[in-house]
Amino acid sequence: MEKQKLKEQAERLYLQGLHAFAGSANPADTESMKLAAGLWQQALELYRKAGDKDRAKELKKSLAVLYKKEYLKSDKSKEKQGVILGKFKDWFMFLKIGCFGFGGPMAVFTLLEDELVREKKILTNKDFLEGAVLGDVLPGPVTMDIVTYTGYKLKKWRGALISTVVFILPSFVLMIILAMLYDKYSLTPKIAGILQCLGAAVTGLILSVALKLTKTEMKDYRELCILIWAFASSLIFKLDIVLIVGLCGLVGIVIYHDEPKKL
């Protein structure tokens, strides 16, 4: 009995939809089309519940006609448009940041936060922090990791790939140009002089970063021991980097075993 009632209801909806569809002869009348589609969709589900497979099939065909003849743009194609639009608009932001991140990770980090959290509102503050933690903890530059993370959150692997590539592209191209110029001009005295001074500054930069990291990361004497050991191994014993990092990591597992700290 239930099924009979459902069938009747479905039939009513179908007729209503038909009315809406046929009533407007103009295919550009999307309102009626939408109405018809909606009604037929409901009817379809009711037919299915009622177990009337034949009617359901027929109705499916009618719906297909609506979409095919583009009386109504289906939701799916709208999604596709969204993807393309989304592609240019969002990913362009990564390109922009990739072009202007002068001055080290902090500058890029600030840019990212401004754009992603404040302007475009793609990430919440909490999400952004999460990305920063991931980026900090995992290998690779923090800024790039945040970019990958955001891309992944937006459109999974594809999104991550696009955001990462777009972000790195400006630097990549610039570097290639510089590399080509380098071969030609690096030995000219003026340029060599500039490079030498820059090199000195970079040395200072490296040491200052090491000092800064020491300040923030070193919490107790155990870590100091690891640090000194790593430094010595690298400088004096010239152990392979992978070996040093791996060993210290294992040591970390052992000595921090009791501490409740999480990532």
Binding site: G104, S171, L213
Partner: protein, 174 residues
């Protein structure tokens, strides 16, 4: 050449996997592999690679592009860059997917804690090592010292430090 490309890729995959804790830390790894092990670049060229990586926008990791180019042209540049980025790319995607499990994994957290400390030690080593080659006269020593003070104590944006150093080089260089 294919052989070189494979080696190039392998080296940068390795570098890309173990550089915990920041962009600059790839420097000791690169020096170790590229200058000492494979001798693809001279020490001076390596320092230039790092320098150029610093003055371009984006992460220092882009020095890989320069090195790749020197080793094997544009193809080398592409392969080196892709290889150095790939490990962290994959790890981030996987970690984002399983973020809860990732952050609660204590063993992983402790491993990374130890690893990061080790990396700092190696960065000091790189600083010393590079310093030996780059600090050749009073001028360079002064620049380095000034840089450390500006960056560590006064927290200036590195871009100004680099610009300043470049200017000094322009005026006093040659």
């Amino acid at each position: 050449m294919i052989n070189t490309l494979f080696k190039l890729s392998w080296v940068f995959l390795k570098i890309g996997t173990f550089t915990f804790g920041g962009g600059i830390v790839i420097i000791p790894m690169i020096e170790n592999e590229v200058v000492t092990n494979y001798e693809w670049l001279t020490k001076a060229e390596f320092i230039d690679a790092v320098t150029l990586g610093q003055i371009t926008p984006g992460p220092v990791i882009i020095s890989a592009t320069f090195i790749g180019y020197k080793v094997c042209g544009i193809l080398g540049a592409i392969i080196a860059t892709a290889s150095v980025i790939l490990p962290s790319f994959i790890m981030i995607c996987l970690a984002t997917e399983a973020i809860k499990k990732f952050r609660e994994n204590k063993i992983l957290a402790n491993f990374l804690r130890g690893a990061r400390v080790a990396v700092i030690g190696m960065v000091f080593d790189a600083g010393v090592s590079i310093g030996r080659s780059s600090l050749v006269d009073l001028k360079t020593v002064l620049i380095a010292a000034a840089s450390i003070i500006c960056l560590f104590k006064y927290k200036t944006n590195p871009i100004w430090v680099l610009l300043g150093a470049g200017m000094v080089g322009l005026v006093w260089g040659g």
